[in-house]
Amino acid sequence: MGIIQNRDAQFMLLAGFIIAIGLVITTVMLNSIIFEGNMAVGGGSELSKYELVNMMQITRDEIRNAYINATLIGGTDVTVNFSMQMNNFSANLPKMFALHGGAVNITLDIGNWNNTRYANFTDNGMPAGAANWTVVEGVNVSSVDVFKFYNVTKASGKNFKIEARNSTGSSVWSIEFNDTHYIVTNITNTTNGSTPINPLPNDINLIDPIYYFQSASSYGPVSIQIIYGNNSYGRFKIQGIANGKVFYRERDYILNTTSTFSTSKFKINMTIPVSVPR
């Protein structure tokens, strides 16, 4: 009986081997395609993230600078001077973003300024902003030379409070306004003044000795807080030295700016409230 010569097994082995190699090649190629695809998507959106933040920042800074310049010049054309600078900025900014293939459009709403609608004493000046917030920290009390609240209007039946706290968070001085009185409280919890006020004075100069703010100077650096800021609106200005540097905190109005940023892939509209002057 002769040997049966059959090469089917060899063919099957080879076929299996070639299929295995084919699978390996296909897997590697798929992996590369997925990886490059992800990189392309990441590369497309990476630029915009930083560009957007930068655009919002320089727009906010320019609005503040234009407001300060216009109000310094004064006169009857204050808003005209402001608008002229902002128009020049809006016209030139897109030229810089065009270098990266992005289109930018900036519009500004100064209705609050034109109609003398003051901002709430909240963190961001909006009615829904944080009502209890820190205006500035590390303040040297005796260095504070401007501490004013102007054009203040308080909601009826609601209180509004300004407070100085020491480094441990304890109150060392506060002034609270209700519908009929203001109440000053110092560290020893003795009420230094409860002079009747009705209505609330438009301009409150807290440097005035009658408010005893300087009594907090012996308790080291303080943080100045606003409490129940959503119950009132108006303007404020605080100036002095904090952490060894002159600081300025000031708000007249909230101006809304809308920035549109678009590329070939997406378009974004952002409206942000900008507190002016700074």
């Binding site: 090469r7 060899q10 063919f11 080879l14 081997f17 070639i18 190699i21 090649i25 590369s32 990886f35 490059e36 990189m39 990476e46 930083y50 930068n54 655009m55 920042q57 320089i58 800074d61 320019e62 600078n65 234009a66 310049n69 001077n81 002229m84 600078q85 020049n88 900025f89 030139n92 900014l93 030229k95 810089m96 065009a98 270098l99 540097k245 002159v246 600081f247 300025y248 905190r249 000031e250 700074r278």
Partner: protein, 196 residues
């Protein structure tokens, strides 16, 4: 005569050549990677460099209300010259004997972070210029030059706005593009980084 040996030999030959091809491609890929080769494996390094660069510019561009940022201050005080790193200082290009060097907030940070990590870098600015009564972006001007970047270089940028009240140094080429208002110019600062 019917015989399948030729078919088998052909198939074996094809399989062997595919294996050889894979080995050769793998060997070339593995050995041709240098630190300057742009490849998928350098993506992680590029991402790290980008974060580092953005952090540097973010830190320099922070300012308290009523103050100028350090980055703006450095741009205002730039004298329009180009500087190169000589191993110790950023010295004026083409004037090596001069003691004139660039020392500001930007160079201090670059020296502390990028030089110490062996990251090559250059700093460029683009600003607006008036050309034939039309305002257009300028070409890139080097403040710090360090040769041509490699293929895997990373660019991060930051834009700042200069006012007329931001007085610039003598020789600074950033002009006032708008005499009708207090806007002086819009400047883009680009930091280019790459691994050596």
């Amino acid at each position: 005569m019917f015989d399948e040996r030729a078919q088998l030999h052909t198939l074996e030959g094809v399989a062997a050549s595919v294996i050889l091809l894979i080995v050769i491609i793998y060997a070339i890929d593995a050995t041709s990677m240098t630190p300057l080769t742009a490849s998928t494996s350098s993506v992680h390094i590029e991402s790290e460099l980008q974060t580092l660069g953005q952090d540097i510019l973010n830190t320099l561009d922070y300012a308290e209300p009523g103050y100028r940022s350090k980055l703006k201050y450095d741009i205002m005080n730039w004298d329009g010259q180009e500087y190169i790193w000589n191993g110790t200082l950023y010295i004026e290009k083409g004037n090596f004997s001069s003691s004139h060097n660039l020392t500001n907030n930007l160079t201090r940070l670059l020296k502390d972070i990028l030089v110490n990590q062996g990251i090559a870098h250059k700093v460029e600015v683009v600003y607006l210029i008036n050309s034939n009564n039309i305002t257009v972006p300028s070409s890139s001007t080097d403040i710090i030059y360090a040769g041509s970047p490699s293929n895997n270089a990373v660019i991060v940028s930051r834009k700042i706005v200069l006012q007329d009240t931001d007085i610039v140094s003598t020789g600074n080429p950033i002009e006032d593009i708008d005499h009708s208002s207090n806007l002086r110019n819009i400047v883009e600062i680009k930091l280019v980084m790459w691994r050596m």
